[in-house]
Symmetry: C2
């Protein structure tokens, strides 16, 4: 029986993603043990995230200004746009340090059963960009699942008339993974997309 | 590359117990997706934990008043004190619904190597209680590890002169656990503390 205020905060943490009952309780007790000024700083950081973050007006990426760091970076190749579902995908791709072009964030993927129809996604601004900017290639970096593939197909249809090169990131056995424990769909894809050496 | 404010908040969450890099990032993004009023309520709960929680002046348990709910509950047996290391142990014991006496929180266990000597623990007030109140039994509910056992032995020595009954919670193979996968120390304890049926 913790105090009411600890239980209340535990409930809040429990609503956070990936936080179970026990973790939530541990976090609430951690807050209790923090110094008052540490809590103040933490709360300040919470509000800053909410207040300072907006969406880049060009690509839809999270940004602290109207145009994000990537879109405004002139040393990046502006002839290539990598289309992703989510901001977090940009973070992962940037970490890999294997891409130096621009991005476009769809904010989801087509999933009619969940009510996400193409008009709910950030697709129109992508077409506007392709029409207005000098784009050589569009890389579709959508997750290789049913909705991701559907979205990729849909985009390919829309983009074809622009005469731009369209590519899709490779899918197959992950590096360091092994064939024995890969699922059938992955093995299937790995075989179909095999590349001549 | 998330925005600076998201990275800052991620760093804060990363300092929380049991939160890894990825969870911390997920939590920061969750804050970003929360409505402003939800954030306000969450922050309020954070401050309430800090401002409303104090230590019970009798037993050391966390409380929202100077005497905790358990100490002030007259339907509980005040002739038995269960000594625990930490407030969280009380929560666990209360959940089991198998104890109806009072508690005493030591706020740790003797661990000289970490600088926790007996004088740093909430031991003196326990002796005062045993001397002043009518206590029939002290149950030592310390964790069955080296420091817990040391602390139990130390307390037994101190409490013996009061002529009060002293007991220790049982230790052995956990319910639903199995002997095959239990560690040597646990099997040892289970055998030594076997009870005639």
């Amino acid at each position: 029986m913790a105090t009411k205020s600890i239980e209340k905060l535990t409930d809040y943490f429990y609503r956070f993603p990936g936080i179970g009952k026990k973790s939530a309780s541990r976090l609430a007790f951690h807050i209790l043990e923090m110094e008052k000024n540490e809590i103040d700083e933490f709360v300040k950081a919470v509000y800053e995230v909410k207040n300072n973050t907006e969406k880049c007006t060009v690509c839809g990426n999270l940004s602290e200004s109207s145009v994000c760091d990537i879109c405004s970076n002139e040393s990046r190749d502006s002839s290539v746009i990598c289309v992703v579902e989510d901001n977090k995908d940009i973070i992962a791709l940037e970490k890999s340090k294997s891409y130096n072009g621009k991005y476009h964030v769809l904010n989801g993927k087509i999933a009619p059963l969940s009510g996400i129809t193409p008009d709910k996604l950030n697709i129109k601004p992508l077409l506007t960009r392709v029409a207005a900017e000098e784009i050589d290639e569009i890389i579709l970096a959508l997750n290789p699942d049913l909705e991701g593939e559907t979205t990729a197909m849909y985009l390919m249809k829309l983009l074809k008339p622009f005469g731009v090169k369209i590519s899709k990131i490779a899918s197959g056995i992950p590096m360091g993974g092994n064939i024995e424990f890969s699922d059938i769909a992955t093995i299937n894809r790995a075989l179909n997309d095999r590349q001549e050496q």
